[in-house]
């Protein structure tokens, strides 16, 4: 078993936190709308696992492409993307069709990583500010 790239680990953890937070928010919205039921929870679980798993596999593919030989990189990434998309479609269709999960609760978490990425610059800016203040504090102590 190969070791995960630290960058992939870090980014996947960031996305997982966002997916979990937004999933909780979605559950709260369903609860407020009085539509909360077991299919919503199972659908959310399937969607969230799909979203995080897709991001992790994307990261592994990209990291392997970056570390490995440069030839056929484009082809490898393209085939990985197609396989992941079809896999997600199959899992979501099976969950909705066989497990009778809520369609919206299953599909919406797939878009949560995009929301996390959209807020990334804000988080980075905050982190940068914190790092700067920490550095200033250590300078003052020195």
């Amino acid at each position: 078993m190969t070791k995960l790239d630290p960058t992939v680990k870090k980014e996947t953890a960031y996305i997982a936190v966002w997916v979990i937070a937004l999933s909780l928010g979605m559950q709260a919205v369903f609860l407020l709308l009085r539509r909360w039921a077991l299919p919503v929870v199972t659908g959310n679980l399937v969607g969230a696992v799909c979203a995080i798993g897709n991001f992790l596999l994307l990261g592994i593919t990209v990291a392997k492409a970056a570390n490995g030989p440069a030839d056929k990189v484009a082809l490898r990434v393209r085939s990985s993307m197609t396989a992941r998309l079809l896999g997600q479609a199959a899992i979501c269709a099976l969950a909705v069709g066989l497990l009778h999960t809520n369609v919206y609760a299953t599909l919406l978490p797939l878009l949560f990583p995009r929301v996390g990425i959209a807020f990334r610059p804000l988080v980075d800016r905050k982190r940068g500010k914190t790092a700067e203040t920490e550095a200033e504090g250590s300078d003052l102590l020195d």
Binding site: A65, R76, L85, L111
Partner: protein
């Protein structure tokens, strides 16, 4: 009644065709991602010390590009599982109102 079942059949078939067409949206991001990663590999080759930054940006960029494909996937699944119910409801109500008008 035969016309209604024919219309339902056509509608279900068109929903399936629409879902298939929606999944074509996955082709574009795949090509784009491939080119982006190939270019990033070249960049890492030129500047190996920036590997961590380039990989991080590349993963985020690929995830953004992939969202376009996911929109197609979501529309496809909605067309298969949700749209037939909505359309059949609309069709039934239209047929009932037409029957009332004819009576």
């Amino acid at each position: 009644m035969e016309m209604v079942s024919l219309a339902m059949g056509i509608m279900l078939g068109l929903c399936g065709v629409g879902a298939g067409i929606a999944l074509i949206a996955g082709i574009g991001p795949g090509i784009g991602e491939g080119q982006a990663v190939a270019a990033a590999c070249e960049a890492i080759g030129r500047q190996p010390e920036a590997k961590s930054d380039v990989t991080s940006t590349m993963i985020m960029g690929c995830a953004i590009a992939e969202t376009t494909g996911l929109y197609g996937l979501i529309i496809g699944i909605l067309l298969i599982f949700v749209a037939p119910g909505i359309f059949s409801g609309v069709l039934k109500s239209t047929v009932e109102s037409l029957a009332d008008v004819i009576k």
